[in-house]
Structure formats: C-alpha cells, structure tokens
Symmetry: D2
Subunit: 205 residues, 4 copies
Amino acid sequence: MSDKEMYIQRGFSSRVGFGSRPALLVIDFIKGFTDASCPLGSNLDAEVEATARLLDAFRTGSLPVHFTTTAYDDAMVSAGVFVRKVPSLAQLKPGSPWIEIDERLAPRPGEVVWTKQYASAFFGTSLAAAMTAQRVDTVVVAGCTTSGCVRASAVDSCQHGFRTIVARDCVGDRSAAAHESNLNDLDAKYADVVPLEEIIKAIAG
Amino acid sequence: MSDKEMYIQRGFSSRVGFGSRPALLVIDFIKGFTDASCPLGSNLDAEVEATARLLDAFRTGSLPVHFTTTAYDDAMVSAGVFVRKVPSLAQLKPGSPWIEIDERLAPRPGEVVWTKQYASAFFGTSLAAAMTAQRVDTVVVAGCTTSGCVRASAVDSCQHGFRTIVARDCVGDRSAAAHESNLNDLDAKYADVVPLEEIIKAIAG
Amino acid sequence: MSDKEMYIQRGFSSRVGFGSRPALLVIDFIKGFTDASCPLGSNLDAEVEATARLLDAFRTGSLPVHFTTTAYDDAMVSAGVFVRKVPSLAQLKPGSPWIEIDERLAPRPGEVVWTKQYASAFFGTSLAAAMTAQRVDTVVVAGCTTSGCVRASAVDSCQHGFRTIVARDCVGDRSAAAHESNLNDLDAKYADVVPLEEIIKAIAG
Amino acid sequence: MSDKEMYIQRGFSSRVGFGSRPALLVIDFIKGFTDASCPLGSNLDAEVEATARLLDAFRTGSLPVHFTTTAYDDAMVSAGVFVRKVPSLAQLKPGSPWIEIDERLAPRPGEVVWTKQYASAFFGTSLAAAMTAQRVDTVVVAGCTTSGCVRASAVDSCQHGFRTIVARDCVGDRSAAAHESNLNDLDAKYADVVPLEEIIKAIAG
C-alpha cells in the first residue's frame, strides 16, 4: 500500500476546499532566495512566473494579497537560536538587496510586506490578525522554500483556522526530494495541494 | 478596607522579584508619543530622563536592551480593527519622524528596535523568542503609555513566563488617573511596580 | 477637560461597531470567582444574571458561544511566574469545584469551555483559531474580573483582529474603582463598552 | 552533490548543541497513536521503549519533563479547520482512552500533560511560558509522528528561542519515507537530530 492510500484509509487527506474569501500569501520570494548567486538562493524562475499569474488573478478579483520577507537586525539578536542552526541567515540584513521582494512580483499599495524572522509567516508577525480583520477564511500559499517557510507557514495557517491551499506550481525548493516529500505531508495533513490553473478558476468563479 | 489591603488579604500582590538575567524593554518612547505637538503625544520629559538613567545601568552591566516602535503600512491593513477604534494611529506611517525612537534614548548596536502594530510589545513580534534565546528571565519595563502599551506589554511579559518589573518613574500616560489605576492593577496581579533607584541598585548588585 | 474629552479630541474612542458574525465569550464565571466564600471570589449575582440573558440571545440566534475557566496542574508548573505574583491561584486545581462554570450559565453542547492559565482567554489557548474557523468577526465579552481577565481578553481580542464589544452589565470586579477605570481604558482604546439591552437588540437585528 | 552536502555548503546544518538547562518534551505518545488498532495508530514499541530510557535520564537529573496529548470537545469546534483535512481526529474525544498517555511512559507529579488541538505542542498552549519560567534553554523532543506533531513542535521550539534536539531513536511515524525526509529537514534547518545514547551522555554530563 502506498503512503497516499495509507493516509486515505486512516482518515487523512480529505479536501478542505475554498471558503468564500481567499487571500494570497507570497512567502519569501526575495532576491536572496530567487537569485542563485546568493548562498541562500536557487533558480526559481518557473515558480516566480507562475506566482505572477496567480497574483494577477487575486488583483483582478480585488482580493487580499500579503508578502513576506525575512530580515534581522545587524547584530542578529532577532534571529534567536535560528542563526546557530543556519549561519547563512546572516545574509539577510537591513539594507541588503537580498531582503527585497523579487521585482517580477512587485507589491502594490494595500499589499503588506511582512518582515519575519522565522520560518512561519505567522510567527512573530500580526499577519493572522490582519487576515481576520479582512474577513479572510482561505489562505493560498506561494513562495519558497517548500521544505522551509512554505511548510511552516502552511501548517500555521491551518493552525490559525484558515482553510489552506498550496499552489503546487508556485512553490519551490533547493532540493527536489524535500519539495515532493513536503507537498505529500502538507496534502495529507494540513492543506490542499492544488495546481495553478485550478486555483485561478476557483478565484475567478 | 482599601483595594490594596483587599488584594493582599486575598492572596494577590506578592513580590515576583528579580531573577538572574534582566532585560530592559523600552516601549514606544517614539517622537509621536513624547512630542506634545503630535495628537498622540504628551510631555513625558521626566519619564524619558529617568529611562535614560535606567538605560545607562543596563548598558553598564552589558545587559540586553530592547526598544519598540509602533508603525503600519500606508494602507493601514496591518492595523487590523485597532484603527477603527483609534483612528489617530494613522499618524504612525513608514517614513514619518513620529515612529522614530526619541533621540534622548538613541538605541545602540545590539539593541533591537521591534516594530509592533498593537499594544503589547510581545504581540505580533518575535521579542519573547529573542529574550528566551538571550536567557532573559526578568523584564524591566519603561515607556508609554501606562494605560496602553505598558499595561498590555507587562501583562504579556508575565504571560510569557518572565518576572516582570515596572519602573515606576519611567512610565507615563496622557491621563494621570489612568496612570495610577493601571499601576495598581499591575502591582496587584502581574508585575512589581518599583522605583527607579531600587531597580538601579538591583541591576548593579 | 475630562479624560473622555481628551481621548476624543486626540482621535481615540471611535466606535468599532458590530460586524456580521458575533460570538459570545464568557470569561471565568467559575465558582471560585462567583462564590464569595472562595478567596478569589466575590458576589457577582447581577452580572451573572445579566450574562444569562445575553447567553439566551446568542443561543436564540444560533451564534457561537465560548466559555473559559482557569486551571493548573497540581504542581503549578503551568502557572509559570504568575503564581509568584498571585499565590491564591493555587486554589484552581484539577478536581476542585472552584474551576467549574457557575451552574446558572451551564454550557451546552457545541459551546467550548477553554481551560486557560493566564489572564487572556486567547493566551495559551486555540480560541482565536476556533473563532476564525467559525467565521467570527465580532467578540462580545462578559465575565470577570473587569481589571483582570476581561481587560486582558478584550485587548487580545482586538489584537487578534476581532471587533470587540464589552457588555457593560455583564462584567464585574472585586474593586469598584478598578472596574470603572478599566472600562474607561477599554472604551477609549480597544473595545466598545455597550449596555446589555443594546447588545441584545443588535444580536436580534 | 547530495542534499546534505548542498545544505552544508550553503551555510545550513550547523550544530545548535545543548545549553545549560534541557527539558524533555514527549509529544503525543498517547494510546490512539501507539496502539495499531486505532485508525490513527501504529506500532511504535521501539520508540516508546527508547523514550522510557530518555525519561529515566531526565528524571534522574531532576530535569523538567512535559507531555502532550491531543483532544477536542465533543462537537469538534476546537478542531477548527484541521478536522476538515483529517476527519479521523474525531477519535480524540474527552473520555476516550485514545487520548491517554501510553502507560509505559506514565507521567509523574510535576510533569505536565498539555492538551493541544493542533500539530505543534506550542500552538494554543502555554508550554513555552512554562518552560521560560523553568529557565529551560534546550528542548529535547521525543514522540510521534515525525512528519506531523514532532516536525511542527521542533520547528516551533526553534522559533520560540529554544535550542532544539530531536532524539532520533525516540520519534516515529506511520510512513518510513516521511520519517526520514522530515529528520533530514529538521537537521538541516531547525534542530540537531541526535542518537539516544549521545543525549543520555549529554544529560548525565
């Protein structure tokens, strides 16, 4: 029996579906992660371009859009113990171009860019409160990396009470194996992993 | 029977005392609050000067220091429902001098300035995580306003597991009545309200 | 100028109003707080009876209802530093009748009783997540005490993105002075303080 | 290049190491998960027995120990949107033996059993506050499942500022592939994955 069959048989992997008010959450598509010349980066052109299409759909529908970046103070105090585990986080300092959103996805007025210090977009930010005030009930997740900030944010989105949809074509990772494994975990336990075209249809509908 | 006696009789108002590693938390001593020409501001010169002395004690002891400011995105999305209640929060926008720390208390390298959107310094920030990573066990609170961000931050400091000390001479408010009432609540339930000189002695000791 | 006028002039004290989906949050109307024979308790009969009427209105409208109690493990580890400040919290142990909801307000199926350890109903519980999943946008607060758990919960309700209404007749305190002062703070900064009859009309409307 | 080499080259996978005050966190070794006759369960005898040894080491050293269980109200309101994704969570109801800690790991006085509703032991509980009050700086994680509650809790432990150590022999999963993949992610980004014997030595030392 495959893992997928095992999960279904045991009462996992149900569909959460879309609610009535989705928001788009674009996680850490910052230059430090989308530019392969940064130690933290890799080539994510296909995922960024797919996300640009998703962003169009949300903007056309006048639906809430949120971005995140990751950044620390110069002394890395705000990085807590995380920087002991991942010393290259020290690349993400104030004033560095690495912490800017990729220009192919430039935020517009009314779209908040949240600065976070950890993996989850909801940890140490007031993102959940802003979404609640916007009456959001569904969070569509794009960004990177699948095994890092996307995974942590999608789990937290479910934990905060939002139906969570991961846009399969709009999330990417440094490791192909970790990417697939995390999508499997997310789809079994926390979120629906859904192709871009299907999400665009649901948003337009 | 006075409220103070009532609380003691009922098993409140005990002393939490200092632990072994205090941090200083300076809440919202930003120009918008310490300059009486801002609708949100008032004259807090005495409290700012007392805080400068407290800051000296922490710096002399090489102890952790944290500051907060309050700021929103231009569209006030990050202000959630709070701005419905307090429309003048819209003064606190990116680029405004109102959100800068009062220059009499200028932060030094290694002292983080946390940007928050709500009353509590711990809500929507990763301040508690940074303090835990610094092995802090005691939070000394200065700042403004006593009935607003100081009250909410001191309650949250207790809730997060830190011994909490409010520096009586270093906190101020727009309303004298609200100032006193909140110090009474805090001292009965969440924090020790302690004069500046006593804190300086404890830090030096 | 009165504090009330000062707040209005400075851009506080606006009305948040009701949204489209209110929930009732009944905070700590437990026997240890509503029975004057407990060191933590006082006579809150009028407030409990007013809350029973409010509860009827929410049940008639099939609207979400949540209760809280406060309770700790026998060793008080889960009380953190809070029990250093308020030693009488040790009354609130598993198995004690003090931690049971007052029988005049008996919860019904589908109404969750959240066990919390601190002042705020939202701290260390997944209440906000449950309300978000229920599509709640407005939290009506009843319970005790005004200067303790009601204050902390109303502030946190605003911080989590919910419009917050404090039911003036349904909240009580050990101290009359602290009661009034906290209602003033709440109404200026975080929540609308509204009489029972007005809330019942809004819920029915 | 292997993923492991890629992570090291890019500045991940550093060692966080032990601090001076470790706590043990035993996640969801409840009968519903350790009894293969429950739809949520599987045979985790080896992991439970290894955890019993780890528990001995912590108890011998008089170090803090915390357990979690997962449980909901009868109406599953407290399960939020999570139960839409994993309908079999409805097995975890008050009064069910499934939510009890496996008797091979019976908690002792002073060891808190936290009831959580979501994957992370830190979400919707005041566990982090209790650990901070206990001066904990290092969290050693055991329990199940590796790809579910262990992963989410270890990420959150790092996010809350604790050095995080996953006890390799003391964590288990329904899926062998998900188990390995999640240990790889954790060791690269959030926690040191360490064999039991090495942890026992560090605790004793």
